[in-house]
Amino acid sequence: MSAREPLPGLQAEDHGLLRFLTCGSVDDGKSTLIGRLLYDSKSILADALATIERTSRKRGLEAADLSLLTDGLQAEREQGITIDVAYRYFSTGTRKYIIADAPGHEQYTRNMVTAASTADLAIILVDARKGVLTQTRRHSYIAHLVGIPHLVVAINKMDLVGYSREVFEQIQQSYHEFAASLGIRDVRFIPLSAINGDMVVERGGNLAWYEGPTLLELLETASAAHSEAVEKFRFPVQYVCRPRTAEHHDFRGYMGRVESGDIAVGDAVQVLPSGRTTRVRDIRLLDQSLPQAGSERSVTLLLEDEVDISRGDMIVKADEPPRSAKQIEAMVCWLAEGPLEAGRKLVVRHTTRETRALVAAIEYRQDINELKRVSGGRLAMNDIGSVTFKLAQPLFVDPYRENRATGAFILIDEATNDTIGAGMVV
């Protein structure tokens, strides 16, 4: 087989990889939906299915309960709760998918934020019998806050409302009303029945009035992040390679991932924080020299001039620098047990850079159920609010809305080293 022929198990076209998130609770049929996607796309293997069938029979069920596929750890089964985000994988032959499955309960905002942080698309489940609930608004708000470009509202359990077009259209209408107030634009609606398989992978025979794509068709055609807006080049330096061997005596390679935008040999670049400018001499990936590198590629940059660069520095294009900030305002999701209060000192980790920080003020807490602001005070676990930080060292930031990589940071407790918060630069 020559290297140019498609790999077996894949078709000629490879549409890359899409990461998506499913939001909803067990009651909405979320686990059943994931089970259905895996089952109908033939991603569940026989022994996994046999285990599920055994367990289903033990519980007195007639058919395999597909929700058991997403059943988690023994520690969770003992407590009857879902602790954590679980990642699952399937492939259609043209595209690989990573599902981040987040538990839906109110107290698990932090799990949803975690799962959403790497997702290109979110599926928000709505029970057709119940319509838009507080939970629906909460999930939509978080998905939007965390910058997921595409939302899909899956109106499930259509079988329990007689596959009614009116019910579907009513829910669509009421969702539109509040989504508009949040500024959500790209949203699609699909009526489906996960339990019977209608409109998930197969169209089924019950929703003839619906002419749109099935859920899987929508996933197959959704664009992955980074492919729409023109983004600025951002290259946080992870590691500096100086082999100092006879063969590579003068080699200085700056290793990292293109977080956004693209770079080509010959481009004028600026190094932060020094501000020194130079040009790109070469872009390497092992023994290949690439003419250019686009976003999400891990490469090694060689520069024309000798510039003092270390881990934590950022290489950008000379004419489009980010903001160098010693004070940042951000939306923070608080992840720790104890509350966040003004005056607290902690560590901010942003791209490959870390700095100590002081919580200067907490402007407001966002009530994510009522979607309104509550002024001042503190943030408890799972709260989201607006926080101002003073930084010991400058960070090179873009607004999160423009750049998810250089707008995001995590907060670390200096004493325990735990990750205690997630921030998005306003």
Binding site: L7, P8, S227, D287, R297, T419
Partner: protein, 312 residues
């Protein structure tokens, strides 16, 4: 030409990442984060297919420099000789230093005590691994575990935190957002980093094909004496003799995972090339561990149990 038009044109010229490119770039990023954040990491290399991919990714992450970590194999003493020979050859080709620490040494020290002489040594690797971590003062271990392997792994972090006792506590893991990994630890604690968390078995084989990676020969179809036991093919070896009444057959088989002889079973196969294996993997109806790991069949939670005891 306007700037916008120029940008547009360049965007069209920059090839989109296919799924293997994306997975590779993510894994390289993770390896470099380990090197950037940890002071004394080690990469676990067994000679198995997942760790063969890790070495290729490490080359892409750090060449022309040396790897910023040693290679470590925790040897149960019950590995197929073809695999340990391959392990040593691969490390030598790369010019990187390989350390081997043996479960048999832990048995001699008395830190590993088998319940019976025939007991599988697989789970006891945890003890030897923790001893090696203490001996060298490693603050991070890079492993080839994947989330699709097993459901206790589906919730594993890319940077997984282990306490002073090497224990994994699923209830006490750090939230992991974006690709901002937190490897800060206190002395005695440890990070396990998994660069190919998001890869499936099929991705691994496709990557092996794309990169033209060499593997130990037992991954490819060969004829071997086996007996059929509880639905699995058990290879007939000195360590795994046939039980009375079992019939020895010569069968064309290959291994989907290679580990301790006493708990790794082959599958029936005539796939002799990577391409044929990819076709089989795409069409298989049995999960990787379900078919081949005798140790995971014991109970639904056995991997979870081993991980809480310090297993990688």
């Amino acid at each position: 030409m306007t700037d916008a038009l120029l940008q547009e044109r360049r965007r069209a010229a920059a090839p989109a990442l296919d799924h293997l490119d994306w997975l590779e770039a993510e894994a390289i990023h993770i390896l470099r984060e380990v090197a950037g954040q940890c002071s004394n990491p080690v990469l676990l290399f067994s000679g198995g297919k997942d760790s063969v991919c890790l070495l290729r990714l490490a080359e892409k992450a750090f060449r022309p420099g040396r790897f910023p970590f040693l290679l470590l194999h925790v040897d149960t003493g019950h590995n197929y000789p073809e695999v340990t020979a391959f392990r040593d050859k691969r490390a030598a080709e790369l010019g990187e230093r390989l350390i081997v620490r043996s479960v048999e040494d832990s048995m001699r020290r008395g830190t590993v005590v088998l319940k019976s002489p025939g007991e599988s040594r697989n789970k006891h690797q945890s003890v030897t691994l923790l001893e090696a971590i203490a001996e060298f003062g490693f603050d991070a271990c890079i492993g080839g575990a994947r989330r699709d392997e097993e459901k206790a792994r589906a919730k594993e972090r890319v940077f997984s935190f282990r306490d002073d006792f090497g224990q994994w506590d699923p209830k006490n893991q750090r939230p992991e957002l974006w690709s901002l990994y937190n490897a800060r630890i206190h002395p005695g604690e440890n990070i396990r980093a998994f660069p190919i968390s998001n890869w499936t078995e099929l991705d691994v084989w496709q990557y092996i094909a794309r990169e033209g990676l060499e593997l130990p020969p037992i991954y490819f179809a060969h004829t071997r004496p086996v007996v059929r036991r509880n639905g699995a093919l058990v290879p007939v070896t000195l360590l795994t003799p046939p039980l009375s009444g079992e019939r020895i057959e010569e069968v064309s088989v290959r291994f989907r995972t290679v580990g301790d002889i006493t708990c790794t079973a082959p599958v029936e196969s005539v796939a002799a090339t990577v391409e044929q294996i990819i076709v089989e993997t795409a069409e298989t109806t049995i999960t990787e561990r379900g078919a081949t790991r005798l140790d995971d069949q014991i109970s639904e939670a056995s991997m979870e149990q081993r991980k809480t005891e310090g297993y990688f």
